[in-house]
C-alpha cells in the first residue's frame, strides 16, 4: 500500500504556458513534413522506399569517392551525380510528394489544420520547404561525402581543400535547383488528387513522358528546334541550365546560345507551380 502507487485524478488542468506564433506553427509543420518524407514517426513500411533511394545514391557516392581516393580522378563530379541519379529522384518525388499532400487531402485532416492559426500560405510553404529539403538531402549528403573524401585525400594541402569546397558549393546549388523544380511540380500534381497512386503515376508520367518529346524535336530539321528541344522536359531543362552555366557539352544536348531561355523557363515553371499550389489551397482552406 504505497502512496506512490496511487494514481490521483487531478481533474482537468488549464494550460497557462506560452502560445507560440505562426512562425513556430510553420516550423512544426515543416519538421513534421520532413520527418514524414523519410517515414520517421510512421510505420517501418513507409521507411523502406525513401531510405532505400537515399542508400543507393549514398552508396554510389561512396564508390565514386573510393575510386577517387585510389586513382585521384572522379568517376563523375559533383554535378554529374545529380544528372545520373535524377531518375531515382523522380521516383522519390513521386512517392513522397503524395505522401505529404494527397494523404492530408484524403484523410480530411486539412479541416483540422485550417481551423487552427495556420493559413493556406503557411501550409504550402511548409510542405514545399519540407520536400525541397528532402530531395536536396538525397543529393546533398552524398555530395558532402564526396567532398570529405576529396578533401582528405587531396595532395595539395589547404589549397586542395578550398578547391574541393569551391566545387561542392555550386554542386549543392545545382542539387537545390533539381529539388526546387521536382518539389514544386510534384506537389502541384499531388495536390489535385487524394489518391496517392494516381498522384504518383501522374508525376512519373509527366517527367518521363516528356522526354520523348525532346527526342522528336531533335529530329526536326530546324536548328532552333534542336536548341530549344530541352525545354520540353523538366530533366533536360535543368541539363540545359548546367550546359549554359558550365559550358558542359557532355550531356548530349545542343542548346546553342539559348541558355538564358532555359533559366527563365525553369524560374517560371517553379513560380507558376507554387502560385497554382497556393491558389489551390486558398480554395481548400475555406473548406
Amino acid at each position: 500500500m504505497s502512496e506512490a502507487g496511487v494514481i490521483h485524478d487531478i481533474g482537468y488542468q488549464r494550460y497557462q504556458g506560452p502560445r507560440l506564433g505562426r512562425s513556430a506553427v510553420l516550423g512544426a509543420m515543416y519538421v513534421h513534413g520532413l520527418r514524414a518524407a523519410y517515414g520517421l514517426g510512421r510505420t517501418a513500411k513507409s521507411k523502406i522506399f525513401p531510405w532505400g533511394v537515399a542508400g543507393i545514391i549514398l552508396l554510389v557516392a561512396v564508390i565514386n569517392a573510393g575510386v577517387r581516393s585510389q586513382t585521384g580522378t572522379w568517376l563523375f563530379d559533383y554535378y554529374a551525380i545529380d544528372d545520373r541519379m535524377s531518375i531515382l529522384a523522380i521516383f522519390f518525388a513521386a512517392v513522397v510528394a503524395p505522401e505529404l499532400v494527397s494523404r492530408d487531402m484524403r484523410s480530411g485532416v486539412l479541416q483540422l489544420y485550417f481551423s487552427r492559426p495556420l493559413r493556406a500560405a503557411d501550409y504550402v510553404m511548409a510542405k514545399v520547404a519540407a520536400l525541397v529539403t528532402a530531395i536536396w538531402l538525397l543529393f546533398g549528403v552524398p555530395q558532402f561525402v564526396m567532398f570529405l573524401v576529396g578533401a582528405f585525400t587531396t595532395k595539395t594541402g589547404m589549397k586542395g581543400v578550398w578547391h574541393e569546397l569551391g566545387q561542392l558549393i555550386p554542386g549543392w546549388g545545382y542539387s537545390l535547383l533539381w529539388a526546387l523544380l521536382f518539389a514544386s511540380i510534384s506537389l502541384l500534381i499531388s495536390s489535385l488528387t487524394g489518391k496517392r497512386a494516381f498522384a504518383a503515376g501522374g508525376i512519373v508520367a509527366l517527367f518521363l513522358m516528356t522526354t520523348p518529346i525532346v527526342g522528336v524535336l531533335n529530329l526536326l530539321p530546324s536548328e532552333t528546334a534542336h536548341h530549344l528541344s530541352g525545354l520540353a522536359s523538366p530533366i533536360t531543362l535543368i541539363s540545359g541550365i548546367e550546359i549554359w552555366l558550365r559550358s558542359n557539352t557532355q550531356l548530349g544536348l545542343d542548346i546553342g546560345d539559348t541558355g538564358p531561355v532555359y533559366a527563365i523557363e525553369a524560374f517560371c515553371v517553379i513560380a507558376a507551380c507554387l502560385l497554382l499550389l497556393l491558389a489551390r489551397y486558398r480554395k481548400v482552406a475555406s473548406l
Binding site: G11, A24, D104
Partner: protein, 304 residues
Amino acid sequence: MTIIATQALTKTYGGGVTALADLTVEVDAGVIGLVGANGAGKSTFIKIMLGLIAPSSGGVRVFDIDPVAETDKVRARVGYMPENDCLPPDVSASEFVTHVGRLSGLPKTAARERASEALRHVGLYEERYRQIGGYSTGMKQRVKLAQALVHDPDLLLLDEPTNGLDPAGRDAMLTLVHRIGSEFGISVVVCSHLLGEVERICDSLIAIEGGRLLRADRISSMTAASDVLAVEVSEGTDELAAALRELGFQVTPEGRLLLVPLESDAGYDRILQAVAELDLPLHRLDQRRHRVAELFTTKETADV
C-alpha cells in the same frame, strides 16, 4: 457572460443558396445546443465562427472578437471537432494529437503533455499508441474530441459529436461533453439534428431552421412553464372537460386524455376536486414535463 453574439448574420453562397438569414442571437457561456435539420445552416454558422468563411452581411463576435478580422485570436481560443472523418489512419493517436497541438502554437513538450492529458480525459489510455486506422468509430470520435481539446480552448465547437455511435457510445459521448462543460469550465456548442440528446446535456438551446432562428433560450425557461397534467377517466370525459373549463382551465383533449396546463399546485387540488364531485372513476393523473421537442412541434404548427 456572452460568448457568441451575432447581428443579422446572413450567408448566401455563390449559387444563390441562402444558408443563414438574418440570424441575431446572443449566447451565454455553458453547454449550448445548436439544433436544426440537415441543411439548416448549423455547419455554416460554425465555419463563420471559425473565420473559415466570411458572412455575406451582418456581424458575428466570439468572445467579443471578430473572427473575420482577427481570425488567429479566435482560433487560439476555440477548438473544432468536424462532423466527418478527419483523422489520418497511419499514425498513432498520441502522435497525431501532439502534432495538431503544436499547430495550435503549443511548444513541443507542452504539446506532448497536453496530448496525453486530452486523450486521458476522453478515455483513451494504452490504445493511444496504436495506429488510428485500427480504431473503432467510437474511439475515432474520442480522438477527434481530444484534438479539439488539446490546446485548452475556452470554447469547443462540436459538429454532430454522436454521429455514427451506438446507443452506449452516444451516452458516453454526451456524458463526456456535459463533463467538459460543467467540470472543465469550457463552453461547448453541440451541433445536432437530434433534439432529444442535446436537451439532456445543454444549458441553453439555439434552434435554427432554413437558416432562420426558430428559438434561442435557456432550457430551464423553455420547460419551466410547460408543466401539464394529464387526466384520464374511464367514462364521462366530456363532462369533466366541461366542468374544468367552467373552473377556468384550458383543456385540450388528446385521445382519451385531457391535458390541463398547471400554473400552481392549487390547480392540482381543484382538478382532483372536480373529478370527485362528478364522481368519475379516475384512471390516471400524472404530471408531464414537456420535452423540448413538443415546444417546437406546437410552434411549427402554429406558424403554419
